[in-house]
Amino acid sequence: MSAIPSHDQLFPHRHLLGIEGLRAGEITQILDLADSYVDQNRQPVKKSSLLAGRTQVNLFFENSTRTRTSFELAGKRLGADVINMSSDGSSVKKGETLIDTAMTLNAMHLDALVVRHAESGAVKLLADKVNCSVINAGDGHHEHPTQALLDALAIRRRLGRLDGLIVAICGDILHSRVARSNIHLLNAMGARVRCVAPPTLLPSQIERLGVEVHHSMKTGLKDADVVMMLRLQTERMSGQYVPSTREYFYFYGLDYEKLEVAKPDAVIMHPGPMNRGVEIDSEVADDLKRSMILDQVELGVAVRMAVLDLLTRDRRGTNA
């Protein structure tokens, strides 16, 4: 385990909009700090006053109980005032644009804004218009950086490193912001990334992001250290991208048989929520020795605390 990092080290970015563009050292800085927050979260008293008096708004244009709660806990454990705002589109229906929303929020003097939006690039559009730090909690098919960071932290804590590992990302990569963020992060950290999916679920020229492409789980999972499963959206199953859940599970659902070709101690990940019996067999998902799904949830809070801490440092001053 890495040593607890110095708390006065500044992070060179104002926002966290994606993993693309982050350097390996910066990723390590976040992960190291997150490690120290894991310990804090396991104490009976979990709260600090690091962000006391600061305001964090979680602005979710798309439903997500899990990610929103994780960000909410992260902010509260650092002592920030956390407000959750969800948009059912009502203000949009009244004609308010995203930029109007940004202007409104700006007038409230926030310190951190956590945004999820169904459109790729929407979080960047907001970040360009507000004065506070913006954290991307998932934008369209683009990026979900804190998910990739928590995945990386989970792998690092379990396997001790990221460099040189073979990581197979399997399933609906076409629509997955989690996959894109993970590809950028794992590449930056020296892992070998494979994308395993039917061609209908792979975006154009994905190999140019520095990944190997496989259409078969047999070859894609061979000697893998980590098997990262992605959620298949139910609306993709109506013959549009794959003909049926039955066929999808047969060829791409993770079960022990397919897992046999991976390393004997290969770990299994899933960003949740899972479709049991579609992309993953229940038996595998619940295998505590292999599955890291609950570790991912736990570490998510620590990673988000680290990100909130780092992004607000320059305005808190290094003595905070």
Binding site: E20, T97, L98, I99, H117, E119, S120, G121, A122, K124, L125, D139, G140, H141, H142, E143, R177, R180, P203, S204, Q205, I206, R208, L209
Partner: protein, 431 residues
């Protein structure tokens, strides 16, 4: 007495005849009366107004064959008046409007409305396409004969592709009766549906839904077959891929009556200009890669691509200041058409006369309009310009109501100085 104006001390340029000589030009009323190197060698007689161009170039005014405006229906984007003012400031003396207004221009009354508004504004010459299918819905063809009599220069569903092969075959075949052209927006809609930018690595990185190049290529291949089957004349608007150019090159060699155009953004920009979700670079068809951009320049140089149109699609801020996926397609182009076309000359890709041909006589010929040339008796539609002067695109000074240009701040070279329509100076550069 009919007004006579002598434009002296000019570099006369006519791409139709290859004329490039110093000399003078005389207009009489709405027509060109005379021109040549020795005209007014003994001085201009009294009673004729003299415009000394001080050595500037004088060429036929630009004919822009693809302009969308918001009138009727979306006047906040651009009206015939605002677009006309932008056009003349851009050296354009004739523009052809797409039928995708609200209501769609699919009836004689719509064309009459446009003609009336154009007469009232009386700046640029305004022509209009009529829709090829009713409501531009792609199902049933319009009353092409009556629409042609009412002034429709050709038939197109404008920003929408005629998707059904059966409808396209009928449109081509029926338009033959009147020897009218069908203009296609070549994009297979089911393949392009939901797409936001060119399919490929950049779209994948940005998490944006891609439109494959094949959406355009397939449609061009199909339509060329239908053209062979039905006869008629077919024009592809804004081609963007190397294969499209190659297919049209071969079809022309086989003797098919096919023409095409492109727009400045397809030879001046690439998909990398989308950058960090710049919605001003969201156009239909999408900006392609560098190899395609080069193929478009090549196609212009060898004449496979006949014309350059502005493809002016105004969008107000509400339609562009949105997440990329929600933003509307389109860029304005009336005031950048000329300088961006001249960029091809300054980069040594086209001669000045060849570049001018793409925006004057060639689009006029495609549409059977008696415009775009300097000839005795021809309409006195002219642009005087300095091909060398450097300047920077400043969208705030544009006359279009919308400001959605991806060329903001681009350094360009060459600008119009004076625009003359039917012998009247309708615009002059200030300072």
């Amino acid at each position: 007495m009919t007004a006579r104006v002598a434009y002296v001390n000019a570099r006369l340029l006519d791409p139709a005849t290859g004329l490039d000589q110093r000399g003078a030009l005389l207009t009489e009323g709405a027509r060109i009366a005379d021109f040549g190197p020795s005209l007014f060698g003994d001085g201009v007689p009294e009673g004729i107004e003299v415009v000394d161009l001080g050595g500037a170039a004088l060429a036929p005014g630009l004919v822009d064959m693809r302009v969308l405006i918001g009138e009727p229906g979306e006047e906040e984007k651009d009206t015939i008046k605002s677009a006309s003012r932008a056009a003349v400031a851009g050296g354009i003396t004739a523009m052809v409007l797409l039928p995708n207004t609200d209501p769609v221009l699919d009836e004689v009354a719509g064309l009459e409305f446009i003609a009336r508004r154009a007469r009232e504004v009386k700046l640029v010459k305004v022509f209009a396409y009529a829709a090829a299918t009713q409501g531009a819905r792609g199902d049933e063809i319009t009353e092409m004969g009556l629409l042609a009599r009412a002034g429709a220069v050709a038939f197109t569903d404008g920003t929408r592709a005629i998707a059904s092969a059966k409808t396209m075959r009928r449109a081509l075949s029926y338009a033959r009766t009147f020897d009218k052209l069908i203009v296609q927006h070549p994009e297979e809609p089911s393949l392009a549906s939901g797409g936001m930018m060119n399919s490929g690595e950049i779209a994948t990185r940005l998490g944006l839904v891609g439109i494959p190049r094949e959406a355009e290529i397939i449609m061009i291949e199909r339509d060329l077959r239908l053209l062979e089957l039905s006869g008629g004349r077919l024009h592809f608007a804004h081609v963007t891929t190397s294969e499209s150019v190659e297919l049209i090159r071969r079809a022309k060699a086989r003797g098919l009556r096919v023409t095409c155009d492109t727009a400045p953004h397809y030879f001046a920009l690439t998909e990398t200009d989308v950058g960090d979700y710049r919605t001003f670079a969201k156009v239909s068809p999408p900006l392609r890669g560098e190899m395609d951009r080069r193929a478009i320049v090549e196609g212009l140089a060898d004449g496979t691509i006949d014309a350059i149109a502005s493809d002016h699609v105004p969008q107000d801020q509400d339609q562009k200041r949105l997440p990329f996926g929600q933003a509307a397609f389109g860029v304005i182009g009336l005031e950048t058409l000329f300088p961006l076309t001249l960029e091809l000359v300054h980069k040594g890709k086209l001669s000045l006369l060849d570049a001018l041909a793409c925006v004057t006589v060639k689009p006029a010929r495609i549409l059977d309009l008696p415009l775009g040339r300097i000839a005795k008796g021809a309409p006195a539609d002219l642009v005087a310009f300095d091909p060398e002067v450097p300047w920077r695109v400043d969208v705030d000074r544009f006359r279009s109501k919308s400001k959605n240009s991806p060329f903001e701040n681009r350094p360009v070279q060459g600008r119009p100085l004076r625009t003359v329509v039917d012998g009247r100076t309708v615009w002059q550069h200030e300072g």
